[in-house]
Symmetry: C4
Amino acid sequence: MNSSEAKIKAAVDPQILTDLVLANRILYSLGVLDSHGHVSVRDSKHPDHFFLSRSLAPALVTADDIMAYDLDANAVEGRGRGMYSERFIHSEIYRTRADVHSVVHSHSPTVIPFSISKTALKPVFHMASFMPQAVPVFEVRDTAGMTDLLIKTRELGKALARTLGGDNVALLRGHGNVVVGPDVRYAVFRAYQTEINARLQLQARALEGPLTLIAAEESANIFGGVGIPPDRAWEMWARQVKID
Amino acid sequence: MNSSEAKIKAAVDPQILTDLVLANRILYSLGVLDSHGHVSVRDSKHPDHFFLSRSLAPALVTADDIMAYDLDANAVEGRGRGMYSERFIHSEIYRTRADVHSVVHSHSPTVIPFSISKTALKPVFHMASFMPQAVPVFEVRDTAGMTDLLIKTRELGKALARTLGGDNVALLRGHGNVVVGPDVRYAVFRAYQTEINARLQLQARALEGPLTLIAAEESANIFGGVGIPPDRAWEMWARQVKID
Amino acid sequence: MNSSEAKIKAAVDPQILTDLVLANRILYSLGVLDSHGHVSVRDSKHPDHFFLSRSLAPALVTADDIMAYDLDANAVEGRGRGMYSERFIHSEIYRTRADVHSVVHSHSPTVIPFSISKTALKPVFHMASFMPQAVPVFEVRDTAGMTDLLIKTRELGKALARTLGGDNVALLRGHGNVVVGPDVRYAVFRAYQTEINARLQLQARALEGPLTLIAAEESANIFGGVGIPPDRAWEMWARQVKID
Amino acid sequence: MNSSEAKIKAAVDPQILTDLVLANRILYSLGVLDSHGHVSVRDSKHPDHFFLSRSLAPALVTADDIMAYDLDANAVEGRGRGMYSERFIHSEIYRTRADVHSVVHSHSPTVIPFSISKTALKPVFHMASFMPQAVPVFEVRDTAGMTDLLIKTRELGKALARTLGGDNVALLRGHGNVVVGPDVRYAVFRAYQTEINARLQLQARALEGPLTLIAAEESANIFGGVGIPPDRAWEMWARQVKID
C-alpha cells in the first residue's frame, strides 16, 4: 500500500485514525448510529483532506476501511471501494467551517420527531450547552423540492452547511442530524448528548410548563461556551468497545 | 431424509435457507419478533412453494426446522411437526402478490397502538419510504365477526391479503402487522424500520404539529420507490447473531 | 435433610421445582421482577401447600432456596430462613381459588401508573386476552387505612383475594400487581403479557381514540378463554436463563 | 503509601470502601450514573472526612481511585490527582446533615424533566416512600445568577444543602439530583428508586387523574419512615457487577 492514501494515513497522528474507528463503534454502542450514519475527522496536517470509512455499517469499521477524501468529496484513491453517498455532508461542512475537525451524521432516533414538528430542539440540561438556543432544521424541499432526501451532491451539502451556519448541531427533516466538534471526541460526545437532550425535552413536554431552558448566558459560561469536555466519557467508552 | 421436502430444500440456493434462519434470529434480536411471529421466504424456483419454520420461537429456529409449504398452507411433508396456525398469512399473500418473495408477521410492539387507534401509521422518515402514505389496518371483525383474532383459515388469509393490497405493510387490529418484500433481506429490514417509524411517529405526537411526513413523491424517489436497500444493515446483523 | 420440607419436595414432580426456579430467573430477565416480587407454585399433590423462595432477590433463587408453606403462610419448616413478608398474597389466593396453581406478585413497572390513575388497565391485544375487561385495583386504604402498603397479614391477603375475585390479574395501588394461572408457565407468561399490554395501552393513549379493545367475546374465543398458551415462549426462555 | 490518606483508609472498615467501589459500578449499570456523577461515603470513625473517587467515570472506579476529603472539600492528600469539581455537593451536605453518611449526585435521566418543569416529583409507589411529598428543586440562578450550573464552590454547595434541608432527595434544575442516605447501600437504592419513580410519575400523567400518591402517613409507616431497606437489592447487584 505505497499509495497516496497510505502516505496520507502514515503522515497523520495515528491516534486520530484510532479515535475514528473507536468513534464508529462508540456511536453504534450508544444507539446514536445504527446500520447507517457516519463519522469523519479532518486531517489536521492537511485541512483539505478528511477521513471517513468506506460504505460500511459503523459497527464493522476497522482502520483498513478508512479512506481519505478531498473537499470535493472525492476519494484520494478510490480503488473501487464503495463510498457513502452522503459524504458531501462532511466535505461541505469542512469547506465552510475551519473550526470544525469532526462531523457526525446520524439517524439519532429521538431527534427525528423534532425534525418533522414545529417544536424546536433546545438545550434543557447543562451537558447539551453546546447546542444553539434553537437547533436549526434543514428542509431539503426548500433547496431542491421533492428529492430522495439524501445529501448526495455538493449543492445539497452546501445548502445543509448554510443551515448549520456557525452552530454545532442541525437537524435534517425526516432524516436525522449533523453534529460537529473541534475534534472527534467532542463530536462523538456532542452527538450522544444531543440524543439525550432530545429525550429529556420530549419527556418534559408531558409535564407542566413553562420549561426552564439553559440560557444563552449559561451556555457561554460552561467551559467558555465549548461545553462539557468529552474526556471522562471517552476514557470509559474507549474501554467498553472492542476493536477486532 | 430422501423426502419431497429434502429434495425441494436441496434444489434451492442454500443462501436462501441460511438467510431465513438468520432472519428469524435477527428479527428476534431487534425486538420485532418475540416468542411469537414468523418469517417466510418463497421458493424462487417453484414460486408455489414457500419456506417457514415448524411451530417454534424464532430465536430457536435452525435450518432443520424449516419446512416447505404449498400455497394452500399445507406442508409438503408434515412428518408430525407442529405448524404455525397462522401460516395462511403467508400462503395467501404469496398467492396474490407475485412480486412478494418474503413475508414477516410480527407483534412488533409499537405498531399495535396504531392498530387499535384512529391514527394511521404514516412514513415519517426516509428509511420507511416503502410504507404507503397511510398503512391499512385489517379489522378481523369486518370479515368474520368475533373471532380469536388468529388468521387460521384460507378465508382470513385472503381477507388480510385484500387489505394489504399492493402495499408493503398492513396492521392487524389488536394483534400486529405483516411486512413484505422482494426478498428476505428487504422484508427483515422493512419490518425493523416499520417498528422504528412507529416509535418516531408516536413521539412526534407529543410535539407541536402539523407534522411533515415523507411525501409520496419523495418515496417514489428513494431507490425508485423500493426504499433504502438492506445490504449495509444485513451485513452487520448477520455478523451479530449467532446460529447454533 | 430428612425433614418435612425435604419429604414434601421429594414427593412432588421435580419439574415443578425446576420450573419455579426458572420462573424466578425468567421474570427477572424480562424486567417483570426486579430485586423484589416473588412467584409461587401450589403443591399439586397436596393443594394446601405451596412453594416459594426464602426471602431473596428472584435473580438469585436456586432450588435450595425453595421453601414449603401451608395456607396460613407458615413455613412447613422454617429453619430460621428469612421469609417474604408478603407471602400472604399467595396463601390467601390459593385458599380461595382452587383453579389457581401459581401466583406472581411483582412491581411490574408499567402497571403501576395504572394502579394510581382513574384509567383502567384493559386488554388491547390478543396476547392479553386472559385479562378481565377492566383489571380491578386493590386500594389498601379501603381495608386498613394508612398502612405501609405491604400485604403482611392474613386479613390483607384476604382483602386482596376478594378484589382479585375470579380474575387473573389485579393491581395493587402504588405497589404492583398479582397475576395467577393454572400452572407456573401460564402465570409467568401472563405476568409478562400484562406488562406488555400496559405499555401498549399507555402508548395508544397518545393516539386518536376511541381505542378498539379486545372484546369479551373475543377473549372467550382465544383458547377457550384461557388465552394464548405459554409453551412456545417458555421453551425459549428456559434456554435463555442460566441456573447456577 | 504510608501517607495520611493511606492511614485513614486503613483505619476504616474495609467493607465501606468495597461498598463505595461497588456503588459506583452498580449506579452505572442501573443507568443512574453515566460518564458523570459521583457517590461518596462518610468516614464513620472521623465524621469530618469522606471518601470519593478521583475525577473518573464511575464505571471505571477501583479502590485505588478513592481519595479522602475533609469538609472543606480539600483532599487530605491530593498527590496531583484530578478531583471532581462538584465535590462541594458532598462536603456541604455532610457538614449540615449529621444523619447522612452517603451522597449520590447524578444526571439520573428521568428526574431532569421534572427539574425544568412546574410539576413536582412526588412519591407514587411504596419503594420511593423516602422521598418528600414534593421533591425540592435547586435553582442555581436564585443564588448566583447566570453560572455554568456546576456546584464548584462552598457557597453553591451550602445553597444546595439548604434546598435539600432535611429531605433525602433534591433536584438541580437542568442538571440532575442529589440523593442521601444513612449508608451507601441506602443511598444507592434510593437513587435508583428515585429514577424509577420519575419514570412512573411521567407515565401516569398520560392517564386520567387525579393520581393517588403515597401519603405522608403511609411513608411514615414504611420501615419507620426510612423506607424499604436495600439489602435484598444490594445482594443481587453486588453479584452482578464485576470489579476488575
